[in-house]
């Protein structure tokens, strides 16, 4: 039965949906985009705004490489349609350093602790850690590990990532 209805639904001509106007404030800059509704926030950032610092890893919300801050909360940008986030503020890795190029303390901590190898997961790790620190729920190393578990590092730099986050949190 469901197969029949699915076949019927597909057989009917579907008008090509038009593009939708989407306004995002990305790293403090208000930007208007004309996007197809199926454009993910990740693709809008990378393909339409040229902000390729945010990475596409699994594209299914399982690796965390695409993590950005949306209205100051960490999310997986691969599992969000940009059109649904119209009016939102987005912070990506490109928006963290000061205008004079001075790195954000968390970026500096990642360098000082060698908290990466290949670096592909790093923008997501840093954005996720920013969210974690702002949330304020992680007080111990175990809690940081648990609340960072949405960010996979296939090089296995976890001990150094933990050390960098602890430094940025001001933990001894």
């Amino acid at each position: 039965m469901a197969r029949t209805s699915r076949t019927r639904a597909r057989a009917e001509p579907i008008p090509t949906p038009g593009k939708v106007s989407v306004t995002l404030t990305v790293n403090g800059v208000e930007t208007q985009l004309e996007l197809a509704p199926w454009t993910t926030l990740l693709d809008a950032l990378r393909e339409h705004l040229g902000l390729t610092g945010t990475k596409k890893g699994c594209d299914h919300g399982q690796c965390g490489a695409c993590t950005v801050l949306l209205d100051d909360r960490r999310i997986n940008s691969c599992l969000a349609f940009a059109v649904m986030k119209d009016g939102a503020r987005v912070t990506t890795i490109e928006g963290l350093a000061a205008p004079d190029g001075k790195l954000h303390p968390l970026q500096q901590a990642f360098i000082e602790h060698d908290a990466f190898q290949c670096g592909y997961c790093t923008p997501g790790q840093i954005c996720s850690a920013l969210g974690l620190i702002a949330e304020g729920h992680a007080k111990t190393a175990d809690e940081i590990r648990e609340l960072m578990s949405g960010n996979i590092c296939r090089c296995g730099a976890y001990p150094n990532i933990l050390a960098a986050i602890e430094q940025a949190m001001g933990r001894p």
Binding site: M1, A2, R3, S5, R6, A9, R10, I14, P15, T16, P17, V20, A36, P37, W38, T40, D59, H60, G61, G64, T67, R73, R74, I75, N76, L79, A80, F81, V83, M84, S128, G131, L132, E135, H137, T140, D142, E143, R145, E146, L147, M148, S149, G150, N151
Partner: protein
């Protein structure tokens, strides 16, 4: 991904109307499961009705001493809500056992109830699956079935419901508020999800075009004696092999009231009134817990790769009930089972 049309609903009534007017439309809120399923061609909506801006984001106390949780409250906000932490810590713990911090920030309360199974074959559009394509067969029955059901399954489907939050909501006897073309109604949590039977394509008893608007918790939160114990293949961020929501109300050493729900073992959060009845009036001892576990698992049936879950579930039930009785719930950041 397929092309689709996008429309934003201004209120619940408009969302229901838009849905009824467009065959093949789907509601979208957090999107964490639906967008994923669209990427793998399992979901093919012709139109998405965005309900994420509807005013369903409050957590309010009810006249009967419980809480009413708006369907769009993000999972993370709910888990860390002061009233949930204090009065329903079992629910907070179960939420924090699931997904990742990023996903919990996106996923809605109502959407958590409606997420689909993570059965490998449901996700693989190239294989037979009665849930995805009714009548095509169940690949998991004779295929890889480590993650699959041991209770309440059928020859049509041995998929499990993936939620942790829902296991706690089942134990807490939550009530689901829905709105649809024929108005508003409520469902008991145990009646919300279905056994697969011969119609595994239906996960829930929602009628077409109905929207979950709120979850209501009764006053009894079992804050003193509870535990959510989740067993999985890695230390974090994985679906349950077995999870247990245990909640007790003690009168000295005697169990006055008991709740026991399992996750990862059935097509719905699994509760058995007989197992809970086996605990009432009994001393909070391992012998009582074992009797309840045996009752809950008496009809359990394993498949080629998941028969281990029956023994695992029994041990997890005993451990969770003893944690609850001691008042030392399993913290989700603690990877050593207490």
């Amino acid at each position: 991904m397929i092309n689709f049309d996008y429309v934003r609903a201004g209120d619940v009534a408009e969302a229901v109307r838009l849905s009824a007017a467009t065959p093949g439309a789907r509601f979208i809120a957090g999107g964490t499961n639906l967008i994923d399923l669209m990427k793998v061609d399992v979901e093919r909506p012709v139109r998405l009705i965005d309900i994420s801006r509807l005013p369903l984001r409050s957590v309010e106390e009810t006249p009967s001493g419980g809480l009413r949780i708006g369907a769009l409250v993000p999972n993370s906000d709910l888990a860390w809500h002061p009233l949930i932490e204090r009065r329903y810590p079992l629910l907070a713990s179960a939420i924090l056992a699931g997904a990742s911090a990023q996903l919990r920030n996106m996923a809605s309360t109502g959407g958590n109830l409606l997420q689909r199974t993570r059965c490998y074959y449901f996700y693989d559009a190239a294989t037979p699956c009665n849930k995805r394509a009714p009548g095509s067969g169940c690949s998991a029955l004779t295929g890889l079935n480590r993650m699959h059901a041991i209770l309440g399954a059928s020859q049509s489907c041995i998929a499990t419901h993936p939620s942790d939050m829902c296991v706690a909501l089942a134990a807490l006897a939550a009530v689901v508020h829905v709105a649809g073309p024929s108005g508003e109604r409520t469902l008991r949590f145990v009646d919300f999800h279905r056994a697969p039977g011969t119609t595994p394509e239906r996960d829930t008893n929602l009628e077409p075009h109905e929207i979950v608007t709120a979850i209501e918790l009764p006053a009894q939160g079992f804050a003193a004696n509870h535990s959510y114990l989740k067993i999985r293949d890695r230390a974090s961020y994985a679906f349950a092999l077995v999870s247990v929501a245990a909640a007790l109300e003690l009168d000295g050493e005697v169990i006055k009231e008991a709740r026991l729900a399992l996750g990862g073992v059935a097509h719905k959060p699994w509760r058995d009134p007989a197992a809970e009845q086996a605990l009432r009036g009994r001393p909070a001892t391992e012998a009582s817990f074992a009797a309840a576990a045996d009752r809950l698992l008496q009809d359990a049936k394993g498949h080629a790769h998941n028969a281990f879950k029956i023994g695992l579930a029994r041990r997890a039930i005993l451990r969770a009930l003893s944690q609850a009785a001691r008042g030392t719930p399993q913290p989700q950041w603690q990877k050593k089972i207490l």
